[in-house]
Symmetry: D2
Subunit: 330 residues, 4 copies
C-alpha cells in the first residue's frame, strides 16, 4: 500500500534567494518542467501555482498537458506571494483594494481549478503577517484575513472546491498570521465552513518546533481538517526545503504512521527548493525515501508500531529504530 505522490511544478525550475535573485541554475522552459514531472514514475499528481503555471489564458493547454503526462492536478496554489501587489499582505493588506483583489483572484482560481478537474486550492498567504513589533494592528488584520478567507471559501464551497490553508511561522514576513497548525485551525473553524482545512508542510512544522505526527493527530481530532501534505526536511531553524530524510529519520517514519492511523487520504506532495541540486533528482529522492519508509511500515505493520507507542519507552523505540529503520550490513 503506497500513498499517492505529487510534486509542485515550479520546484523543478530555477530557484533563487535574496542574494542570487537570478537563480542558481539555468531557466528551463515550462514544457521541460512538465516533461520532467512526467518522467517520474512514482508521481501521479501535480500542483500548479497561479500566474506562474496556470491562468485564464492557458488553462486549456494545462488540461492538455495533464492528459499528455497522465497527471492529476491535485491542487492549485494561488500566487499570493510573488507579485509586488501582495508585498504588504493579501487578504489582510492595509489597502482595501488589494484585499478585494486577493478575494477575487482566489475566486478566479476556484473556477480555473474546476476547469482542470482539481478540487483543492492550497492557500499560502505568506505575505500576510508583520515584521516589526509595534507596527501592525493585529486585531484589524486578523479580521480582514478571516473575512477574505471566509468570502473566498463560500464561493469555493458552492463550486465544490476545498481550501487547504498552509501555515508557516515566518518568511517572507518575520511573523505570519497563519503560523502554526492550531492557530490556522482556529481560522479554518471560524469560517464556519466544512470546505476549509489545512495543509501541513512538514518543514514549516519543524521550524515551528511542532512534531508533525502530533499535528496530524490534532487536526484529525478537531474536525478532521487535514486536507493536504507537503514534504521537505530542514535543520529546525529555517525553511531550508531540503530533500526528505536529509536530517531526520525517526520523525519521518512516525509521521507516515500517523497519516495512516488517522485515515489521511490526501496526497503526499513534495515541496522543495533545490537551489544547487538537480531538481528532478532531488525531488524524486524525497519520494523514494518516503516510499522506502512506507515499505518498512508495511513490513513491520501498523499494529507493531501501535504496540511500540503504547510502551512509551524511548529505549524500546531506540531498539525499534536499530532493528527496523537502520540497515543491517553484511
Amino acid at each position: 500500500m503506497s500513498a499517492k505522490y505529487a510534486v509542485i511544478l515550479g520546484n523543478l525550475g530555477n530557484t533563487c534567494d535574496r542574494f542570487l535573485s537570478g537563480g542558481y541554475k539555468s531557466d528551463l522552459s515550462k514544457e521541460q518542467l512538465w516533461q520532467q514531472v512526467g518522467e517520474m514514475p512514482e508521481v501521479s499528481g501535480i500542483e500548479l501555482v497561479g500566474t506562474w503555471d496556470i491562468d485564464a489564458d492557458n488553462w486549456k493547454d494545462v488540461k492538455n498537458k495533464l492528459e499528455k503526462y497522465g497527471l492529476q492536478c491535485v491542487s492549485i496554489i494561488p500566487d499570493l506571494f510573488s507579485t509586488r501587489i501582495w508585498g504588504r499582505g493579501s487578504y489582510s493588506a492595509p489597502d482595501r483594494s488589494v484585499r478585494e483583489r486577493a478575494v477575487s483572484y482566489t475566486k478566479e482560481l476556484v473556477d480555473l481549478a474546476r476547469e482542470v478537474g482539481c478540487d483543492l486550492l492550497n492557500i499560502w498567504p505568506g505575505q500576510d503577517g508583520y515584521d516589526y513589533p509595534l507596527a501592525a494592528n493585529y486585531r484589524e488584520e486578523r479580521e480582514w484575513l478571516l473575512d477574505g478567507l471566509k468570502t473566498s471559501a463560500e464561493y469555493a464551497h458552492e463550486k465544490g472546491v476545498r481550501l487547504a490553508l498552509e501555515y508557516k511561522v515566518k518568511e517572507p514576513r518575520t511573523h505570519s498570521y497563519l503560523a502554526r497548525a492550531a492557530d490556522t485551525l482556529l481560522v479554518a473553524q471560524a469560517t464556519g465552513l466544512p470546505n476549509v482545512g489545512l495543509t501541513i508542510d512538514s518543514g514549516h512544522a519543524f521550524v515551528a518546533y511542532e512534531n508533525v505526527g502530533e499535528m496530524v493527530t490534532l487536526l484529525s481530532m478537531f474536525g478532521d481538517r487535514l486536507f493536504h501534505m507537503h514534504f521537505n526536511d530542514n535543520y529546525g531553524f529555517w525553511d531550508d526545503d531540503m530533500i526528505v530524510g536529509s536530517v531526520r529519520t525517526v520523525e519521518h517514519f512516525e509521521m507516515l504512521y500517523w497519516l495512516r492511523a488517522t485515515g489521511y487520504s490526501g496526497w503526499y506532495s513534495m515541496d522543495q527548493y533545490p537551489y544547487r541540486e538537480d531538481a528532478q533528482g532531488a525531488i524524486r529522492a524525497s519520494i523514494l525515501y518516503l516510499q522506502k519508509l512506507e515499505a518498512i511500515l508495511d513490513h513491520v505493520g501498523m499494529d507493531a508500531v501501535e504496540a511500540l507507542l503504547a510502551k512509551r519507552d524511548a529505549v524500546a523505540t531506540a531498539e525499534f529504530v536499530r532493528n527496523h529503520l537502520l540497515a543491517s550490513p553484511g
Copy 2:
C-alpha cells in the same frame, strides 16, 4: 492608571537547576518569603503553589498571612510538576491512577482556593508531553488530557473557580501538549465550559516565537479567554526567566498596549527564576520596569499608539521608540 501587580511566592526562594540541584542560594523560611513579598509596595497579589505553599493543613495559616501582609491570593498553581508522581505526566499520564490523582488533586485545590478567597487556578501541566519521536500515542494522551481538564473544570465551575491553562512549548518535556496559545485555546474551548481560559507567560510565548501582543489579541477575539498574565524575559530560545526588560523593550511596551486595548482586567504577575540574583530585587525590578512603561503609555496615550499602529510603518515606529521609549539625556 496602573495594573495590579502580583508575584509568585516561590520565586522569592532558592532556585535550582539540573546541575546545581541544591540551589544557588541559601534557603529562606516560608515566613521570610512572605515577608519579602509584603515589603514590596507595588505588590498587592500573590500566587501560591500547591503543596509547596498551601495544602489542606496550612490554609488557615495562609489566610492569616494574606491578611497580615495585605495581599490577595490571585491564583493557586497546583503542583503538577515537582513531585515524582507526575514525572511521566499528570492528566495525561500513562498510569490511570495517576491521571485520577491529578483530577482529584485539582479538585482539592479548587476547594482550598475558595477557602482563601481565590477564584483562579493557574494550571501548568508541564509534565504532560513527550520527549522522543515515536514514543508516545498523541491521540490517546490528548484525550486523557482533555478528559482530566474537563472533569476538573466542571467541578471548578460549580465552585465558581476559573482555570487558567498556562502553556509552554517545552521543558521539562522536549514537547508539551499545552504548547502555544492557539493549541491551548483549542483545549480550553473543547471543555465546553466558560470558566476555562489561558495564562500567557510572556517568556513562554517568546520561546514559541509568538508575539505576545498578537496572542493577547487572538485570545480576546476567540472568546475572551485570557485569564492571567505571567511576565519575564529571555533570549528567545529557552525559558530563561529573566528580569523583564533585560533583552526586549519594544515588545514589552506593545504588550502593555494590547492588554489595555483588549480590556484585560486580570493581574500582572511576575514569574522569574533569579538563580544568582537577589530574588526580591530581581522581581521588583520587573515590576518597576513595567510600571515605567505604563507611565510612558499613560503619557503618550492609547490613541497615539493606535494611530502609530495604523501607519504600519516601521520607520515611524522607530521614531516613536527614539522619542518616547528611549531616554533623552542632558
Copy 3:
C-alpha cells in the same frame, strides 16, 4: 564624541527575497541611491559592492560621486555571492577555475579600492559553505578557502589594503565556513598576515547567539582584529536585517560601550534589508538610534558603566536600564 557612520549603497535600493524576486519596491537609479546617501547629514562614509556599484569601468565616476557627495569610501564588498558563478562557493568552490577567479577578482577590487581612496575590502564569502550533511569535504574546502584568502591577502598587504572577513552562521548556505567570530579569527590568524581581520555584523552575531560586546572584546584580546562593524537588528533566529533597536535595547548600549572600551576606531556602518520600508528612512533610523545611545553613554560616562559591570549584578543593571536608558515621561 560620536562615531563615524556609514551606509551600504545597495541597501538604499530595491530588495528582494526568494518569493518576490523582483523586489518589494520600485527600482531607483544609481544616481538616486547616491543622492539619498548624500542627503543623510549623519553619514560620511559609504560601502560599495563590487560589480553592482563599482568596477573597472566606472571607478572614475564613483570617485566623482564620492567627491560630489562628500563621502569617504570606507569599504568595498566584493560580489562573491550574487553572481551565478559563485553559486557553489567562491574561494572554496569545487571548480578550481572558480576558485582562481575568486582570487583574481579580489585582487582587482584591491586595485579599485586604492583608486578610490579606500583601504578596506569587506569580504563576505557567503556562498562558501555547505547545505547537506555528508555532502561536502570540509577539510579540502577549508584548505581551499584559506589558500584563496591568503593569496588575496598577500596581494592586498602589498597594496596597503586590509581585508575584513565578515562571518555569518548561515544563509545562503545552511552552514557557512566563516560562521562565527572565533572560527573566522582562526582563519584570519592562519593567513599569517596582519592585514586580515574581521567585520562583526551585529545581526549575524545575534543569529549565532553571540553577545556582540563579548565578541568585540574577544577580537580585541586576540590580536586586535576587529576591523569593521555592520549594524542591524533581528529576532535571534534569522538575519532579518531590521532597523537597529527594533527588538533589543540593552545589548546595543552594551556593544557601544565595548567598542569604545576596546578602542575600536573603525566605522559604524548600517547593513539592512528594508524590504517594505522606505530605505532611506529605515537606515537613518538606525543611525539616529545609535547616536541616541551614544549620547546616553556620553552622559553617564564610561566609568559609570565600567563600575556597573564590575558589580556583576543583574538587579543593578536593571536599575541602570530604568534610570538611564528608558524615558522618564512627564
Copy 4:
C-alpha cells in the same frame, strides 16, 4: 574495527531538573551504578565526576572497582558546576578565592587521575559565563579564565595529564565562555601548552548549530586538538541529552566518518540524561546505535564515503542514505 566505548558513571543514576529537583527515579547506590556499567559488554571505559564519584578519600576504592569491573578510567570531570561555591563561576568567578580554589581543585584531580591510571581531565566550566547583557566584564573574566586554565594545565603537563576543554554554548548560564569549538580552541592555544585540547559533546555542538564532522575536521587542522568525544542527541535548540540517533541519522554517520578520517584515537563516551528512561538501557542504546553505524561504515568502506563527499551532490548523498543507511525490508 570498532571504537572504544565509555560511559559517565553518574548518567546511570538519578537525574533531576529544575522542576523536579529530587529526580525522576529512585536513587541507586554507587555500587549499583558501577555494577550496571560493568554489565555492559560494549563498555570498557568510564568517566568519573570529581566529588560525586572520586575524591581524596575514596580513590583506592575507585581503583579496586576499576579492576573489579575491568574498566579503564578514561577521564575525570572536575565538579566545577554542581557545588554552590561555583555558582557564579569557577576559574572566572568574581571572587578571587573561588578562582584560586578552582585551580587548586583541578590540581588535586590531576593527582587523583594519576593515582587511578587516568591521563585526562575533562574540564567543563559550565558556570563560567554570564546571564544578562550589561552585567559582566567579559575582558576581565576571560583573562581570569585563561589564567586559571593555564596554571592548571602547567601542573597537569608536568604530571603527564591532558586537559580536554568541553564547550557548551549555554546552560547553566545563558552564555558560556567556552561556548563553541573555535572559541575554545583559541583558549586552548592561548595556554601555550600541548596538553590542552577539546572535548566535543555532539549535543552541545548541535545546539551551537555546528556540524560535528566539520568541527572534528577543524580541530584536526588546527593543531590536532580533539582529545575526547561525548555523544548524545537533541532537537537542536537545547541540550536534551537524548539517546544517540533519536533525531538525526546522517549527521551521526558523517561524524563517525570524520573521526576515522582524521585519525581520532580517543574514546567514544556517552553523555546522556535519561530523566525518565531506564538509564542503563538508554545509554547502551546509544552505543549499539553507533556500533551499527560503524558496521555500516566498515561495510561500505571509507573510500566509498570519501568518493561520495567528493561529488558534493545532495542527490547522490540521498541515494547513499537510502541504499546504505536505511533498512531494506523483505
